[in-house]
C-alpha cells in the first residue's frame, strides 16, 4: 500500500487533526456526544472523498467545511423529525481544568451557546482554531466580508454576555 495515495495522506493527517476536530465540534454542537458523532461522520465523509482534497492544501480548513455542512444537515434533519434538542449545558466538557478555570470556561461556553449558529462557527474557526479570515471564509463557503461581520457581531455579543471582565483577563 503506497503511502502517497490521497486516502492514506488524508488518513495520516486526520489522525493528528483529531483533537482539533473534536474541539471545533465541541464549540459548534455544544455537547460532547454530538461533537464526537459529528467528528465521526465528518471523518467518514472525508475518507470517502479523499480524492477531492488537493494535496498540499490545508486539510484543517477542508475538514472544518465538511464538519460545518454535516452539522447543518444534522440540524435540518432534526428539525424535520421534530426532535430538536435544547442545548445540553450539563453535558459541556471542559477537560481537566482547575475549578476556577472551569467556572470561566463554563461561562464562556454558556455565552457561546447563546450565539447564533453562524456567529459561533465564525468564532470557532478564527478565535479558537486560529484560522486566517481567508481560510475560515473558505471553510464556511462565505465571502470574507460576511465572515468578518459575523465575527464582529459574535464578538460584540460575547463581550456583552461575558460582562466587563473581558478587559481584565
Amino acid at each position: 500500500m503506497s503511502r502517497t495515495s490521497p486516502v492514506d495522506e488524508v488518513r495520516a493527517q486526520l489522525a493528528e487533526l483529531l483533537p482539533r476536530l473534536r474541539r471545533f465540534a465541541r464549540v459548534i454542537t455544544r455537547n460532547v456526544a454530538d461533537a464526537d458523532d459529528l467528528v465521526q461522520v465528518s471523518v467518514e465523509k472525508a475518507l470517502v472523498r479523499a480524492e477531492q482534497w488537493r494535496p498540499g492544501s490545508k486539510l484543517d480548513s477542508w475538514m472544518f467545511g465538511i464538519m460545518k455542512n454535516a452539522w447543518i444537515d444534522e440540524i435540518r434533519a432534526r428539525r424535520r423529525r421534530e426532535r430538536v434538542h435544547a442545548p445540553e449545558e450539563a453535558g459541556l466538557g471542559v477537560g481537566d481544568a482547575s475549578a476556577a478555570a472551569r467556572d470561566i470556561a463554563l461561562s464562556v461556553q454558556a455565552a457561546m451557546s447563546r450565539l447564533p449558529e453562524e456567529q459561533r462557527m465564525a468564532i470557532a474557526l478564527v478565535l479558537v482554531e486560529g484560522l486566517s479570515y481567508k481560510d475560515a471564509a473558505e471553510s464556511l463557503g462565505i465571502p470574507i466580508g460576511t465572515l468578518t461581520s459575523r465575527l464582529a457581531r459574535g464578538r460584540e455579543a460575547l463581550q456583552a454576555l461575558l460582562g466587563g471582565k473581558a478587559g481584565a483577563a
Binding site: 464549540v27 464526537d36 434533519a77 471542559v94 477537560g95 481537566d96 470561566i104 470556561a105 479570515y133 464582529a152
Partner: protein, 233 residues
Amino acid sequence: MAYADGELDLVARAEIEAAIARDPEVARAVERHRAVAARVRSAYDGVLGEPVPERLAALVAAPDSTPVADLAARREATRIAIGRWRLPPWVALAASVALGLFVGMLVMREPAAPYEEVNGAFVARGALDAALTSELASLPDNSGVAIGISFRDHDGDYCRTFHMHREASVSGLACRQGDAWKLQVLAAAPEHAGELRPAAAMPLAVLHAVDAAIEGEPLDAGAEAKARDAGWR
C-alpha cells in the same frame, strides 16, 4: 478586530500601532478584543488534552486487511456499537466500494436479483423495479416490497424509500433517473416481527440518505399517485 486577529498587512499594522500609541481608547479596544479571544480559546483548550475516543482513532488508523467476506458483518457490528446519528460508511452511495460489495453479495446469493449493475450504478430490477414504478405507499404490500416515502431530490428527480424482505430484511432509497430506479443506498434492516417495517422505522443510513437528498417535503398520497401516473417524470 482584524488587527487584533493578526490579519493586517505591515502598513496597516503600522498605522494601527501608531493609533494605539496616540489613543488609549484604541489601545483598550484592541486589548478587549484580544482578551475575549484568549478567554474563548482557553475555554475550549481542555478538549485538546482529552484522550481521543477509540472509535474515532480507529477510523483513521491504518486500514486493516479484513477479508471482503467479513465486511457486512463488521459494518453491522460497528453500526450497532455506535448508534445515534452516525452515518455508516456505506452510505457513501454508488461511488463506494462498500455498496458494491453489499449489493454484489445479494446479487450472487439470489438467482433472481432485484438489482443489476449498469455502468457502475445499481439499478432496480424485477419485483423491486415493478414496486418502485407502480406501487403506492398506501396500498397493502403483496410483492414482498413495501414503499415508504416518496419525494423529489435537489435535481427534481423522484426518489422513493423501500423495504423488502427476501433472504434478509433490506431497506433502501432509489431515485428515478431516465427510465430506471437507481439505488442510492441499501441498508440491512433489523428483523421485525410480523409485517414489514413502516417507513418511520427506516435504518439510520436510509434516513440520512433521505435527509441529504430531499428537497422540500415528502409527497402526500395525492401527489404520489399523480407522479406515478405521470411515469415519475
